[in-house]
Symmetry: C2
Subunit: 191 residues, 2 copies
């Protein structure tokens, strides 16, 4: 029988794999695709920086934890572009299998804690979940706005798709959506 | 005058640069060096996973936040190998300049919040700071243990250096140090 500590170490090493999952976006200023581990770091900090703009009063620490674990399911499922509706549905069930496997490496109590954070991000209706999902969506828009619409252009995404598919940012932060939706308009004019 | 929101967006884009700061270690299973952004994500999760092993009762949320910001100073200062005493001293003052510049992009209140987290990690005597520094140190040891001592070998670091320089892990977690110090012994026998 493995000790709780050995199980935890095994989980930690398993997480290395998220560093090889490439997203569709390139970090501003870098000529390579972003991976899901560095993305997860970035949005956790973004949540802290923009916390005052949430519609509702939130427990920002829970938001940060949700964002840290939200992409771990991609280790088995890969990253699917946000605008691919069919791919997203299939990915969702693969990601559930993936987190069950990966959190399953942990000792019982921790397994539940990590799963609950992941599940709240994916399916939750709390103010924290809404704000966390808004932040996850704001980030690639800010990157595209500063990157000549790189992932929009490479994947043939038009302005109406971006505006309609990301409007739920307002559920987490109306202030952010007001600003971000204007930035989307301006960015597409300049492409 | 920039609005608080525009200042925050500028800060967020500035953080992209941490994704290009290479460390001396390679993630287990990947043939490239780790960058400081994905490292920061990893240890924030590691802190959550190993929180029960802290010597003292801790506010784990503050630990996570500290770990998320602790390497931002490397954006201007670069990463210096942990075993280079002279390099570390010089880096420390460069990192202070760097975080003053980067957190200085933020609105006043947020600037202070981020600086306080960074400063507590670097200089603090709290239980949270001790545990956070232990976690930051545990991670590259686990990677070396699973990676045939890659960064030890590439940089000519011997067992005594590792054991003496990382013994402060015990200040944050005696349980972790007991386990990790044994792993160091075994790993060097197998090199």
């Amino acid at each position: 029988m493995k000790s709780d500590l050995e199980k935890s170490f095994e989980f930690i090493i398993e997480l290395e794999k998220l560093k090889s999952i490439d997203r569709k976006i390139k970090p501003v200023g870098l000529d390579r695709y972003e991976n899901s581990a560095e993305h997860s770091w970035h949005i956790a900090i973004v949540a802290l920086a923009l916390g005052d703009f949430s519609n509702e009063k939130i427990d920002i620490s829970r938001v940060v934890k949700m964002l840290l674990v939200h992409d771990i399911g991609e280790i088995d499922a890969g990253d699917v572009i946000f605008f691919d509706d069919n791919g997203k549905e299939e990915a969702k069930s693969k990601e559930l299998e993936s987190v069950n496997r990966i959190f399953g490496i942990l000792p019982e109590e921790k397994r539940q804690e990590f799963f609950d954070l992941w599940d709240e991000f994916e399916n939750g209706g709390s103010a924290e979940a809404k704000y966390a999902r808004a932040i996850d969506r704001v980030m690639p828009i800010l990157q595209n706005v500063n990157n000549n619409g790189q992932s929009w252009q490479e994947n043939g995404i038009d302005k109406e798709q971006v505006l309609s598919k990301t409007a739920y940012i307002a559920d987490g932060s109306e202030v952010l959506w007001e600003s971000i939706s204007k930035k989307i308009e301006v960015a597409f004019e300049e492409l």
